[in-house]
Amino acid sequence: MDHFINLTLNGLASGATYAALALSLVIIYQATRLVNFAQPALALIAVYTAYTVTQLTGSYWIGFAAALTAGLVSGALVERFIVRPIARTSQLNAIIVTLGLLLVIQGLVGVIWGNEQHGFGYAFSYVGRFSPANMFALVSVGAVALLLFALYRFTPLGLRMRAAAFHPEAARLSGVKVGLMLTAGWAIASGIGALAGMLAGPPFISPNVFDVVFVYGITAAVIGGLDNPFGAVLGGMLIGLGMSYVSGYAGPELATLTALAIVVVVLSVRPDGILSRPTARKV
């Protein structure tokens, strides 16, 4: 029983990281119908920024703030100056460009910081049954999810963002600056991606550190339903728990296979993801 509780808690903690990554993908997807493959690259910039700032200032938390800021800013810049001009011509081109951006940024990070691993300490200990690090992951992602929900549901900005995402033309006719809302969405998404990076990266960071985590993040987003933020959180938790149980009871070599199995099962029952909207839009 003890073992089970341990696995559950660990699964929830790693699930929180996947959920955060999934959220960052879903926020952009529901606004633009575009999967942002550059998301791990933006998280990479954020984490390396944090690494440098932490080394310079000696404070993890100043570095942490720098990471979130770098995430917000890089997301906004990528949307405004790279994705938007291309998405005007073709949606598919924009998706391919985010893929290209991923490779370019990974390369650049290697050029600037080096391709070898850097040790990047964590503010919390990993030791213990439910370690402070796990606790922090769960609490911070939970807080972000709640804040995001409150933003969407209760603020004028959130209402504008939802209107711009669901029906850009009607939003414009109601006076919403749709372009600005897209930029805001990308900024918020990349800020959350940066948080995921700060949770998933340490203790060692390298230009490819997020490759595997990102696969689980995208898996979480797909099984939850790409256009539903709640689905992203649920999907992240499912993947986290599933992998934790299987690696605990059956062996860690089966963990990746578990993620694949979850995808196959979920998508064969609900092809659009667990919480996707069943309604098709009439055009």
Partner: protein, 239 residues
Amino acid sequence: MTAQPLLSVEEVSASYGAVRALDGVSLTVPAKGVCAVLGANGAGKTTLLRTLTGLHPATSGRVLLDGEDITRLPAEKVITRGLAHVPEGGGVIVELTVEENLRLGGLWRSDRRDKSTLNEVLELFPPLAQRRGKSASTLSGGERQMLAIGRALMARPKVLLLDEPSLGLAPLITEQIFTLLRDLRDRTGLTVVLVEQNAAGALAVTDTGFVLNQGRVVAEGPSSDLLSDDRTRHAYLGF
């Protein structure tokens, strides 16, 4: 009476690539006027409205609202000048609740916290008041049209443009909506431009009418005259 028209369209042209959709359209709408823009499919009615509100660029010509040139303003700015547009099908956002749709319409206003506009609109449309917390996807076609009009009214516009509000609605509901538009004009002085294929219905509730054909104004005048002018009716309005 030669008062300055509230909305004045001067020689406006617009095209889709090589296809000319509007070819020097001019029309004027006086304050508190209710005016119909009629014509067959593809005559340019929808393009005209989209050009007026900045959803589609004009290649030449000017649009003046209350004397101000709004031709090049983007759509999200046009509404702040007092020109509201209810697009074809209403443009209700079904993923939002009824009240959220309504609130969205007045969100750009500095007095958006003031609940009086919302209450007035809800009073105007009792079915919306009953379902204000419900998802807009639960509304019927007529109720959606009400919601679309209500959302436009939340902006307290000077001029309301409506693109085929009767589309897909039962005749009785259409009549209700037309009557409501007239009442609004009588009570609040709202100016209405009604784009319609349902020419007979539209001419019955409007003061003046314009008939578009292939991007040009081919007939205009008091609605009653257009109704009784057999040649125009047969040639362009099909009844």
